[in-house]
Symmetry: C2
Subunit: 361 residues, 2 copies
């Protein structure tokens, strides 16, 4: 589609799938569901909609080379590499400035690199619808119709409906909220007027830059300056000099919670952010006993009277008489976790960080 | 004590503690309870009773060198090495012939290399008592007072009491039985007239050789021939030539189930054959949550809300929200087993054998 670009945010270093996701090998690099990386799946999912040269990726220094290798058909110059992580707002502003320099009329879909979408066809259709609405200058967010009172996501409160596009209803967004407690999450779900914040949104690059100018003038000023210096021989040096001063802000805090002209399209596209081993288990195909065995151990395992269990292992793995367990077996770490407790993996990572066990992070 | 010798049978290659016990590293070589091998513990347990030169060991070719290294104070010549495993009867007959050649008046305590004895003091006292009774020419067996209707052990049925020695009552042995089913085991326990067969017995070497002559004349003839050839330059060649013909028989089947003059001393010495991961768990010290963490991971672990769990691992190991689990993490195999199901490890080993996965055995 004309003037339509994808910008995949692939700089995250989430630890909730620890010990498989690590600082050096974050979730988007892992072959969690297919036998290639989540990042490559994220690119392939939109390849019917965007030509390779219209797909941009923003990521960190440590990940850029490997991610380029995953999608060699995308021009290397389309990878915007932040010197180091400063949360999403600076990274996206820099990437948007890059796209704007190429096409001032660009409409940009900001997408994620490590989420699962079970209905990619509907996802592509809603992106097309969102592009039409973004033409007006609106920030269009994809809201996920909630299926349960999740406390792990931010929510978007819907205002009045604005219009119908294709078979999607578009609402004014009334408010972005942070992760609620279970009582509020239950109220949100019951009201039918909230969706999960998927972190995906579609906007004209000119609207995006205006929003930065209005709400984050420092980020705007620095990115505009960098935009003018893209072809300078000392660009990299300038970028690194400026990056230290960039405020660490998420795009939600920097823009979304402040902007007025936000629309939300609630959709059910079988979305999951795979925020825990348990949510990954529910996405993966299971055998008739509810087990899911991944890794090189797949053809080299013995599972005896074991149910509803997830195993990631490259070694001969034997499970006898257990149920509802997650086993993750990496070179240097072994995790055995009850399936109802996988959110506590984060506590372990925090503990290791506090105890100086950096080698395991 | 004069003419008193220990003969430790250390040739076993049990698989019930798989994947830690392996064909190349059987249970007696593992540091399961202390930080040295079960074999070394078995030797140290009797070192107050026997001088190093009075302790003999019978074992297999594959294990001899490592076992010698574990107890360097025992003369290397006291290690009787069978060319390959032929079950216990031929191995013990060969060892007894060796001891007889050194001391025809020898009384020999045949002991195990991979069992746990919580009360070693009482164990040494009962050995002293057994030695006195063996003087008469009786085969004296140590019976273990049963604590539950175990189906994994053979039982010895007590006949009338013969005498009291120290504070031990000695009974005529009426019958050796194979492992019973649970109904019979319950009857045995209720009768108060059965003990578990510990596999430990004390006899004069002359009585032992007579028993072999009577019940196993082929083994007797071959061992007597070898005895006469001990100092021959081609002894090893003769041994290997003869070994092929040795019948594969256990000492119970070969002698104990046939001999008449057997006495049994039932004792409670806190004995365990450590026949499963679960029985090992019950021997090991546990923390206040009932967990037991062994291996190099001991100082390098995170255990969150986990109870009654046994972990053997040399890696960073994290357990969250599980209970009654056994985790055994070796270089090439990972076992996760419910604590009530550890006897099924044997099924897995059988399965691997049938499927030609010899490298894991």
């Amino acid at each position: 589609m004309e003037n339509f670009y994808a910008l995949i945010a692939a700089g995250g270093h989430g630890t909730r799938l620890w010990p498989m996701s690590r600082a050096k090998v974050p979730k988007q690099m892992l072959p969690l569901i297919e036998d290639h990386s989540m990042f490559r799946t994220s690119v392939e999912r939109i390849s019917d909609l965007f030509a390779p040269e219209d797909i941009f990726v923003v990521t960190g220094q440590d990940y850029a080379e490997e991610l380029r290798g995953e999608v060699p058909h995308i021009p290397a110059a389309n990878f915007i590499v932040e010197p180091y992580a400063k949360n999403t707002a600076p990274a996206l502003a820099l990437a948007l400035a890059t796209i704007q320099a190429r096409d001032p009329e660009a409409i940009v879909a900001i997408l994620t690199a490590d989420h699962h979408i079970a209905d990619p066809d509907k996802f592509r259709r809603v992106l097309g619808a969102a592009r039409q609405i973004a033409q007006d200058g609106r920030i269009v967010t994809l809201g996920i119709t909630p299926l349960h009172p999740a406390t792990g996501y931010g929510y978007i409160q819907q205002g009045p409906p604005i219009m119908e596009v294709d078979d999607f209803t578009v609402y004014q967004s009334k408010r972005f909220t942070e992760k609620p407690d279970i009582v509020r999450a239950t109220q949100f779900l019951a009201s039918g007027r909230y969706s999960w914040n998927s972190g995906m949104f579609i906007w004209k690059v000119s609207s995006a830059m205006s929003a930065f100018e209005q709400f984050q003038p420092a980020i705007y000023a620095m990115c505009t300056y960098l935009q003018s210096a893209f072809s300078a021989p000392d660009y990299q040096q300038k970028l690194e000099g400026i990056w230290d001063t960039m405020p660490k802000l998420s795009i939600d805090v920097a823009i979304m919670e402040k902007a007025e002209n936000i629309a939300v399209i609630p959709v059910d596209i079988g979305w999951s952010d795979i925020g825990s081993w348990s949510s990954l288990y529910h996405i993966l195909p299971q055998d008739s006993f509810g087990n899911c065995i991944k890794g090189d151990a797949t053809d080299n395992r013995v599972i005896l009277d074991t149910r509803d269990t997830l195993v990631y292992s490259d070694r001969l793995t034997v499970a006898i008489g257990v149920e509802d367990i997650v086993v993750v077996d990496t070179d240097d770490v072994l995790l055995i976790c009850h399936k109802d407790r996988t959110q506590d993996v984060k506590q372990v990572v925090d503990y290791l960080k506090e105890n100086g066990s950096e080698e395991y992070l």
